[in-house]
């Protein structure tokens, strides 16, 4: 055996002795966004900022009928033209961001609060608690969301509180389903079993074992859910059953200005476009985070 081989052999054995085996520790993975993802984050951030400082930067008040006429193209300070009552479209979009995004965000947060609490509870407790909540949940889930919205609004009328509450309850059902499934997956993991065998209480298990492991998947789901809620609220508004005039909201703005389309006015297009930028950006971020190597095997086929 040559000298070189000898040292190599010693190296291998030394490695075995120090590491116990091949060091196969993977490097820590951090979320790295692609440029598409980064742009999307910027878009979402932009709208969130608009929500907060909107009224102070808008050229006009959302209800000011300052324009020369209705359905005008862009001129002077009316960068996006005027709407069917001669109000500044841009200002109404800026004000509307508050309603559309604000109501959606509030509903989604409320839905998460309810969904996660009940979902984790059902997963951890199991038994009849789980059975009971799940059955009711399945029944609500078995209905088209827009139908539920219509039924509730038919009965109660429309106000912001009712919108938030309705959307929250409707979407809490899907959050419940996901939180419960995640919870159940985690609950059967050996590390939870180990905690149970140790004698840990339910709250400790939820706090230290279940929630940290459910956080990331729930965060991505939050994005998707927010998109659904935005679409839901906008659709109701579009039907005239959501945010009530004269307050501005992207969905109702499309409805109000729909007739203008035939005169070639873009007043209905801009708010629709605003919704699209917000929802598409969120979806792109979620896609970027949860991008999987799906189909890598498919590329190997001939």
């Amino acid at each position: 055996m040559t000298e070189e081989n000898k040292t190599k052999e010693e190296e291998v054995i030394a490695k075995l002795d120090t590491f116990d085996e091949l060091p196969d520790a993977p490097p820590k993975r951090r979320i790295k966004l692609s440029w598409v993802g980064k742009i999307s984050v910027a878009v979402v951030a932009f709208w969130l900022v608009i929500c907060i400082i909107g009224p102070s930067i808008a050229p006009y008040h959302e209800m000011d009928m300052e324009g020369d006429d209705s359905f005008l193209d862009a001129y002077d300070n009316f960068y996006l033209g005027t709407d069917y009552l001669g109000r500044d479209t841009l200002s109404r979009i800026i004000y509307g961001a508050r309603n559309t995004i604000g109501i959606s965000l509030a509903s989604t947060l409320l839905a998460y609060l309810m969904g996660i609490t009940l979902g984790i509870l059902a997963a951890v407790k199991g038994g009849w608690i789980d059975m009971g909540i799940s059955r009711v949940n399945d029944a609500i889930l078995a209905l088209p969301t827009i139908m539920l919205g219509l039924i509730v609004i038919a009965a109660l009328g429309s106000s912001i509180a009712i919108l938030v509450g309705t959307a929250a309850v409707i979407y809490a059902t899907s959050v419940f389903r996901i939180a419960r499934a995640l919870g159940q997956d985690i609950m059967v993991q050996d590390f939870v079993e180990a905690a149970k065998a140790r004698g840990e209480g339910v709250w400790w298990i939820i706090r230290a074992e279940v929630l940290p492991n459910a956080a990331m998947p729930l965060a991505t789901d939050f994005g998707l859910r927010l998109v659904f809620v935005v679409l839901f609220i906008s659709s109701l508004s579009f039907l005239g059953l959501g945010v009530q005039p004269p307050a501005s909201d992207w969905g109702s703005m499309v409805r109000e200005n729909l007739q203008g389309l035939t005169y070639g006015s873009y007043a209905a297009i801009w708010p629709a476009f605003a919704i699209a930028t917000f929802t598409i950006a969120i979806n792109l971020i979620v896609d970027d985070i949860s991008a999987k190597s799906g189909g890598s095997l498919a590329k190997k086929m001939v």
Partner: protein, 316 residues
């Protein structure tokens, strides 16, 4: 075992319908406290209130009203519309036909297109066309239906003048007129429904494509076409049928928007009008029809995926 499972699903579907009816009934009858007050609003006088209450049967306990309502509905007696006093059955009749025609046409067009495109995208992952399809469908499902409709109106009606921007039917159109009237709402719904179906078909196939038995097929030298069509598709059939049913059910919400935007005289439009005028019996009836269809479609999906599973078809 399989028959048992199918029967179980049917039983669950039926139970869901019952729960649905309770929800619809509760939401529209008990939640508001005093419906009569709300219906009459400021014009309420004690006399009219009492009269309306008696008319609505509200002097009876809730469960009695529920069962009589359910019983009437089961025999086709949908009640009388508050507005105009026509029977709801007569209001719904023609409208339902219109909606069914639209939904049927959408299904007929979008199912083959979606499965073909979804399969194609799954067979060529990572190619630029796949990326275009993936990105395009993602954008479509991210935006509201009315956005798609508005853009279509802008392009096809306002800019190009190819199609009318409404689909209002008078009842005596010629066939070509009918087609032109229907084109825009159909196109909108096909785009919306197909986007979702393409995405889910593609994902379903790709999900199956990462299984070890697909790798084995590659290692056996099976050509790509055969891998997709024989090895992957048969395992993805359950999920795909599910997707189809779910999306046909999803049509429900699409229909609501599209009928409104194009003024199409369908059931959904009727229901929205009912909601706006707070014609509760009408809303109840429409909601039950929509929800019933939805539950039925989901049930079909469930049964189809049971039937497509060889583990259940061929017990040990």
């Amino acid at each position: 075992m399989m028959t048992q499972m199918v029967l179980r699903r049917i039983a669950i579907g039926f139970a869901t319908l019952i729960v649905v009816s309770i929800i619809v009934f509760l939401a529209t009858s008990i939640l508001p406290g005093d419906v009569a007050q709300i219906i009459l609003g400021q014009s309420a006088t004690p006399e009219t209130l009492a009269a309306l209450r008696a008319e609505l049967g509200m002097d009876q306990p809730g469960y009695v009203r529920y069962f009589s309502w359910l019983g009437n509905m089961a025999v086709g007696d949908l009640g009388i519309s508050k507005a105009g006093g026509a029977t709801i059955a007569s209001l719904i009749g023609g409208r339902m036909g219109n909606t069914m025609v639209m939904a049927g046409l959408v299904a007929l067009i979008s199912i083959p297109i979606s499965i073909a495109l979804g399969l194609w995208a799954a067979m060529h992952p990572g190619t630029w066309l796949d990326r275009v399809v993936t990105f395009g469908t993602m954008c479509t499902i991210s935006v509201p239906e009315f956005f798609i409709a508005t853009i279509l109106v802008l392009i096809l009606a306002v800019e190009l003048h190819w199609l009318p921007s409404t689909a209002y039917l008078t009842g005596n159109e010629s066939f070509t007129e009918l087609l032109r009237a229907l084109a825009m709402p159909l196109l909108t719904l096909v785009i919306v429904v197909s986007a979702q179906m393409i995405r889910m078909t593609r994902a379903g196939i790709l999900n199956v494509m990462s299984s070890p038995y697909i790798e084995m097929a590659i290692l056996k030298g099976v050509p790509r076409r055969r891998i997709i069509l024989r090895h992957a598709f048969f395992n993805a059939i359950g999920p795909i049928v599910n997707v189809i049913a779910l999306n046909l059910a999803y049509l429900v919400s699409g229909v609501v928007i599209v009928e409104t935007i194009f003024a199409y005289p369908g059931l959904a439009k009727l229901m929205i009008d009912g909601v706006q005028t707070r014609d509760l019996p009408l809303v109840q009836a429409c909601a039950m029809i929509f929800c019933g269809t939805y539950v039925l479609l989901i049930l079909l999906a469930d049964v189809a995926s049971i039937l497509s599973n060889p583990r259940l078809r061929q017990p040990k």
